[in-house]
Subunit: 107 residues, 2 copies
Amino acid sequence: MPTNAARELNPLCEVLQIVGAKWGFPVIAELYKGPQRFNKLQRAIRNINKQSLTDTLRLLEQNGVVRREVFPTVPVTVEYSLTEKGRDFHTVIEAMNLWAAKWGIRH
Amino acid sequence: MPTNAARELNPLCEVLQIVGAKWGFPVIAELYKGPQRFNKLQRAIRNINKQSLTDTLRLLEQNGVVRREVFPTVPVTVEYSLTEKGRDFHTVIEAMNLWAAKWGIRH
DNA sequence: CAGCATCCAAAAGGATACTG
DNA sequence: CAGTATCCTTTTGGATGCTG
């Protein structure tokens, strides 16, 4: 994640935190497919481990991008989904894709 | 910078490399003001050191966002400026700003 | 002036094992 | 199932000094 220096560039800091987080995009991309439980997310995202997944979900939750819901089954079930704010994030992703497509990879 | 995992999400990988780099935004922001020499950039960007500035400029240069021009004065003068691709990057920045403004910091 | 080489400190990432 | 705790490895960042 971009640390202090970049974070001083408000109000971009929040966006940079999200897009700069190593697993932010993969998690968001996966949740676009629909609500998912913790273990399902972990299996879906190649090479992520519990710790990293937990950290990323907490970060996105704090930024209001992801919602966490606990169902009191046994064992407990936890479902993660995108909030409205999270779904609206596609505007940013699209802008990135457009720019990347317009200019291509490498020059 | 977001590392391997995020980078597999082509064609976003290039964008993530740029926005995820700790000093990417500060350098681009500074160059929007116009072409600048190495030392001028370093003085303008709070707390960046030669090494980090060099690394960031090389990264942006490789991505075709920044142009490097050497003038054979003594001592040598090197000027950095944004390419057309680099200036067009404001479309991405704007999308980020819009999203951030729409949803605010924290929730 | 514009860097590169080196070195060190700090942070991030990841593996594993354990728990309610 | 969904984590937390711990430990360890790797990567990054920054400071400093040297050079064409």
